[in-house]
Amino acid sequence: MLNAATAAVATATACVLTVSAYFMIRSLRKGGCSGCRNCEGCRRR
């Protein structure tokens, strides 16, 4: 039922989602500006 390919792809997907969740939480925790410098506010510093 659960073949090797499915298991491998599932693992890979889980890894991608975990990494993405990690970065999402990190960017939320950092709060405020993420330093994209998409504005004068950052750029002029």
């Binding site: 659960l2 073949n3 390919a5 499915t6 792809v9 599932a10 997907t13 991608v16 989602l17 993405s20 969740a21 970065f23 999402m24 960017s27 950092k30 709060g31 405020g32 500006c33 993420s34 330093g35 994209c36 410098r37 998409n38 504005c39 004068e40 506010g41 950052c42 750029r43 002029r44 510093r45």
Partner: protein
């Protein structure tokens, strides 16, 4: 390890110098309590950390940028201050230097843009300037990379010697009073900072006086004596003295001083672009061009290619074929292809448009035209409680709300910035166009008036919100000032444009890879499974359908709550507004619909009356924007609480407007009158009241900024 601080005016090449000094070893964080970046990095080839302070004109205690810089210099006492000074605009730049020299920390002045001075045939004697200022001066050009080595050597030297610069002398009267104040303060503040506190107390600086505690009365007595003697306010005396001291220093190091060539060219350009008659047409032309290039032509070719070819023909079918070929479980395949990749792709598809838009905006900003846009448009927006700078985000918002909200950061006034960030998404973004096309096509015979009405409603909502929101306590405040430098025009540097564009683009990709990816996974899951985790055949039995049904009662008064599909469409619209039409396609049983959804027009027409359709459209245009835009809003507003309040306001306004339009429209067209008609009339009255009522904060705001007699 040396700790150095980089301080300087805005627009003087500070970012360029910081990048040159630290290379890629930068870390970005936040200053405590404010949404201002704190960047630091290791200086190349030296055992030193450089902290980048915000760009400021003065160390006065009013803007958060200034307070952050003061606190850092006083409380964290770096080993050395690197003060970058624009050599083409010495006087105003050295005014900040004169305050930095008072702090009692070894200082190196980095005299930037020496190449521009030379090009204009000018000359600055750094040795003479150095002796006039009493600290090391290094002539350099951050852009050309000249003098960087020398600057780094000067920084390490200054830190090693620990030699504190001699403060610039003020007038006799001010010096005498400052030294009397320093006698009073002796022992109460750190010895090295006594000069700083004495002079700041002499200026009646509230933050400095705060730290003097019960000595305030005694100090103010000395200040008043000097004011009687000089027949002028003490802050005015100190500011004039500082400027006289720095213009003496500047004059000693330069020969004859005339308007530089860069300035006269700038003046000539300004004469045209801010001309009485040409100013507005030129502005409209520039904006049309930006919009045309990034949204309609080059950018949209790229986006269409990304959507139709890259994702539509290569990635999605390719991935599906590969996964099926490897006999991966079909549910997992669907999750990856229809959930994650389709969702991620929908957002990443906008990347080409964004990239082009970013490049153009960076160029406009870097060359100095953005400041002129604010100058030209200020009058209009000030009427509605916003500033001229609020126009730029709205304009960008017609393409996409995310960069629009981000662009609100060009606004210095905290209050204007917050109101702008909260209202920018009212303007229909390009992702809302399919919704407009659907409603116009299905219910209004494709009339272009629907689109026009959508833009007008968006603009009206922004201007109305400007008036309403400034009556809120947290957003009230003195009308922000518009005392703004109009920097000299210059050719945008290729490196700067490339770097800023890359950084912005990366931020966009990062968002798509986090928020959007995860949210898309979740929606796919909700629309594919039932509550007991069984795969559903029919989307009507999915969890998402139940959620839609659970919420659709709320939209009954708006005329489109009878069918849960519209509620679900609105919900999935939160992910990306393009989803609204796509969701209908799935929910009405068409697996693929074209962008405007022609296939489902008849079904929508059967379910909604035109007025209910228009109400649905208005609600979707005005209510909470997509998650990406909410995330951007969160970044500008600083807290989730403020963001939540903003989203509530947007949804509330959307509900009110849709309710009024549907109920009063039904009354007018079909003569239906019910409880909700009455309610909608009351809501309309409330909105009118909010707009025309007196501003409770206006009087006090007026007074603080008003001319004192």
């Amino acid at each position: 390890m040396i700790r150095a601080a980089l301080a300087g005016n805005p627009n003087c090449g500070k970012t360029t110098l910081f990048n040159k000094l630290t290379g890629s070893s930068q870390r970005v964080g936040n200053w405590p309590g404010v949404t201002i970046d704190r960047k630091e990095g290791r200086i190349k080839g030296a055992d030193a950390i450089l902290v980048d302070l915000p760009g400021i004109y003065s160390l006065s205690p009013y803007s958060p940028e200034e307070i952050v810089s003061r606190d850092f210099l006083l409380d964290e006492s770096p080993d050395v201050i690197v003060n970058i000074v624009d050599a083409t605009n010495m006087e105003r730049n050295l005014y900040l230097t004169s305050q930095i020299l008072d702090v009692g920390i070894p200082t190196v002045v980095a005299l930037n843009m020496m190449d521009a001075v030379r090009k204009d045939g000018g000359e600055i004697d750094t040795v003479k300037l150095s002796s006039a200022l009493g600290c090391r001066v290094v002539g350099m050009s951050a852009l050309k990379g000249e003098g960087i080595e020398e600057l780094i050597a000067a920084i390490t030297e200054a830190a090693a010697s620990g030699k504190v610069p001699e403060p610039l002398r003020l007038s006799e009267a001010a010096e005498a009073s400052a030294s009397r104040i320093s006698e009073v303060l002796r022992g109460k503040v750190p010895d090295g900072q006594i000069r700083w506190y004495s002079v700041k107390a002499l200026e009646r600086d509230p933050l400095a006086l705060e730290r003097t505690g019960d000595l305030e009365g005694e100090i103010l007595h000395i200040v008043e004596e000097m004011e009687r003697e000089t027949d002028d306010d003490s802050d005015s005396v100190v500011a004039s003295d500082r400027y006289s001291a720095v213009s003496r220093a500047a004059a000693s190091s330069t020969g004859k001083r005339g308007a530089s060539k860069g300035r006269t060219t700038s003046d000539r350009i300004d004469r045209i672009v801010t001309d009485r008659w040409l100013g507005l047409p030129i502005f409209a032309g520039v904006m049309f061009l930006v919009y045309y290039i990034s949204i309609s032509t080059i950018g949209s070719w790229g986006t269409d290619w990304m959507n139709d070819v890259f994702f539509g023909e290569w990635i999605i079918p390719g991935m599906r074929a590969w996964l099926e070929g490897a006999s991966v479980d079909p549910v997992l395949t669907a999750f990856i292809v229809d959930g994650l990749i389709a969702g991620f792709g929908a957002v990443i598809g906008f990347l080409p448009q964004m990239l082009v838009l970013f490049v153009l905006l960076v160029i406009l900003e870097d060359c100095g035209y953005m400041a002129r846009i604010a100058f030209v448009m200020d009058r209009v927006f000030r009427r509605f409680g916003l500033s001229g700078k609020s126009f730029i985000p709205v304009l960008i918002g017609t393409g996409c709300g995310v960069p629009g909200i981000m662009a609100s950061r060009t606004i210095e006034s905290e209050r204007d910035r917050r109101i702008t960030a909260m209202t920018t998404t009212f303007i229909p973004c390009s992702a809302k166009l399919p919704v407009i096309a659907l409603i116009a096509g299905a219910l209004f015979g494709g009339s272009a008036l629907v689109a026009l009405a959508s833009y007008l409603v968006g603009i009206a909502a922004i201007l109305m919100s400007g008036i309403i929101l400034k009556k809120w306590k947290s957003l009230a405040g003195a009308p922000s000032e518009f005392i703004m430098e109009l920097p000299a025009y210059h050719m945008p540097g290729a490196v700067t444009v490339f770097r800023s564009t890359l950084e912005k683009t990366w931020a966009f990709v990062r968002k798509a890879g986090t928020f959007i990816l995860l949210a898309c996974g979740l929606v796919w899951f909700l629309s594919t499974f039932s509550w007991n985790m069984v795969l559903v055949e029919d989307v009507n039995t999915s969890m998402l359908a139940d959620m839609g049904r659970a919420l659709s009662w709320m939209f009954v008064p708006l005329g489109w709550g009878g069918d849960w599909q519209f509620t679900v469409g609105t919900l999935t619209g939160l992910l990306a507004k393009e989803n609204v039409v796509g969701t209908f396609g799935v929910l009405f049983g068409f697996s693929e619909v074209s962008e405007a959804g022609e296939e489902i027009w008849t079904m929508v027409a059967a379910m909604l009356t035109p007025i209910a359709g228009f109400s649905f459209l208005l609600f979707n245009l005005l209510c909470a924007p997509c998650f990406a835009a909410i995330g951007a809003m969160r970044r500008e507003l600083g807290t989730w609480k403020a963001t939540g309040a903003a989203v509530l306001y947007q949804c509330g306004l959307a509900y009110a407007v849709s309710l009024i339009v549907f109920q009063i429209g039904s009354l007018a067209i079909y003569g239906t009158f019910g409880v909700w008609t009455a309610v909608s009339l009351a809501v309309a009255a409330l909105l009118v009241y909010l707009v025309v009522s007196n501003d409770p904060f206006r009087m006090s705001a007026r007074r603080s900024g008003e001319v004192a007699c």
